[in-house]
Subunit: 319 residues, 2 copies
């Protein structure tokens, strides 16, 4: 039986996890952007890991090795920042091919260190091996104030649903590359996640947070599932950049689909009470209110062009 | 320029690491079995990561998925135990193929959990994606008493060099599988590393410790380099199991080569003062004295059949 036959990646993860441990140091295990562990009196330790595979997450024909290294670090930092944490220590595993060029890896590491410096991350361990194709993995640890760490599970009915920056950038770039159309591709090749101080500013007011790695649809669904709430998204309010809109026009596609189901934008979706919106704007203003948390019975919907639809889940690697 | 042209894996790692960080929490970065970080008053946090690639580290034709999952956990635990630490929290990244069977992964996870239970490890996070071949990575965190953690760098001239268990088991199994000879293969398919309590018993007396992942030759060289000492190994004393000797005979090869350059035995090489040997024997006896640490000017040698040879470094993935 293939993974796709049991319902894909998320069904598979549910099947093989769910073990509970009698370890008081585990504050939160599988099921959020990071695992959360006891650390010291005031802080938790956050740990995440993300893998990038040649042909699945990147292609050296499309993106430079600098961009690939940078993206690997950004996708991991994003998970820590999206829990209002501060990224600190990274551990990298590399599977290189017998033909991998030193010059390629020098540039890859330059991108990795460029992102690490941007986020104050120290790269202090790893494993280097070889295989038939390039595979890179980072495990990243960080910390977060115990009163500040935010989960997917804290959303409350009445909360406003917000998203930082703009969405669809990564999918826009990917579609142009796939179709061989020149245009805006840096959203795919060189995405940058939010800074820790932005995540912390959000965390001080937010009830729930998640990063956009699988598309807005999937992330809102995760918040709703973990918080046992519903959501209604105003499709017209989903923020798109002019670059994304132009790229979608070039590709003959709907930019809102990119935002909803594209993924890899590494923005933050968060929910907060209405009063938190003006408060947060004073400190951090690059976000948009796109909807509202409702009771779980009301489901998860998106309103667009006057009609309401089920918000289908986003990109799943195995469906 | 290929990685092999600059001297292989270890030369590559030196090229891309070596950045220093102004972070008082980093006790030890790249260069030992684990990174060591400040944790609480009495303990350090240890972190390691190891990747296993289909075709490089395992083949589903040779080993069961149970064995592959188990081995992935054991190779990581080994790094923590070899610094006298206690393994605690694991994070797994998986690249599966579109054809990967759920039944295969169920067995893989059964092996993973079997090893995790043996070592008291909680699997609390990960990333699941897909690619052209199977790649598995674990990042593992553990802790160690600040007075107990042991490095590669502590060896002193006059120390006895010891190794736990027997060596060459993994290479023996691999060679039989490669040659299609039936026989003893579980040393390759299902290696088990030492338990944390054994590592701690060693750590209480040892000056330096390292696990055997790349072969005795490579591990002794690491200790010598990091401790700035030399070593002389008595080749005849290297412990081999009867299974390893039999497999080597079947393959028409030298079992001592397996021990010296084979790797993946996940035993512990350690050095301790002569007085430590009888003390340790009272608490943990499954080890053998195989040589002595000498001054760095004397180099790294092995005596075998009355002649002394340079102990060449072990298996390097890119040479």
């Amino acid at each position: 039986m293939k993974i796709s036959e049991i319902g894909g990646e998320f069904a598979f993860i549910k099947r093989v996890t769910g073990v509970t441990y009698d370890d008081p140091a585990i504050v939160c295990g599988v099921g959020d952007d990071c695992a959360v562990l006891e650390y010291d009196r005031d802080r938790y330790l956050l740990v995440t890991t993300d893998m990038m595979v040649e042909g699945t997450h990147f292609s050296p024909a499309w993106c430079s090795p600098f961009q690939i290294g940078k993206k690997l670090m950004e996708v991991n930092v994003s998970d820590i920042v999206a829990m209002a944490g501060t990224p600190r220590w990274a551990f990298i595993s590399l599977a290189l091919t017998p033909d991998t060029q030193v010059e390629f890896m020098d540039e890859f590491y330059r991108g990795l260190y460029d992102s690490a410096a941007r986020h104050g991350v120290a790269l202090i361990g790893g494993d280097t091996t070889h295989g038939p194709s390039l595979v890179f993995n980072i495990a990243l640890a960080g910390d977060a104030g115990k009163d500040l760490v935010r989960y997917r599970s804290g959303a409350l009915p009445g909360d406003f649903i917000c998203v930082t920056g703009t969405l669809g950038k990564s999918e826009a770039g990917l579609r142009l590359l796939q179709k061989g159309i020149s245009g805006y591709t840096s959203g795919y090749c060189e995405p940058v996640c939010r800074l820790a101080r932005e995540g912390r500013a959000i965390g001080r007011r937010a009830h729930a947070m998640i990063d956009v790695s699988d598309g807005l649809g999937s992330e809102v669904a995760h918040i709703c599932e973990e918080s046992r709430v519903g959501a209604i998204i105003d499709g017209e309010k989903i923020p798109l950049s002019q670059d994304t809109v132009s790229a979608a026009r070039q590709a003959g596609e709907d930019p809102y689909r990119y935002a909803l189901y594209g993924g890899e934008d590494f923005e933050i979706v968060f929910t907060l009470p209405a009063s938190g919106v003006p408060e947060l704007k004073k400190e951090f203003s690059d976000f948009t209110v796109i909807g509202e948390i409702v009771n779980t019975e009301e489901g998860i919907h998106i309103v667009r062009k006057g009609s309401m639809m089920d918000l289908k889940k986003g990109y799943d690697h195995f469906v």
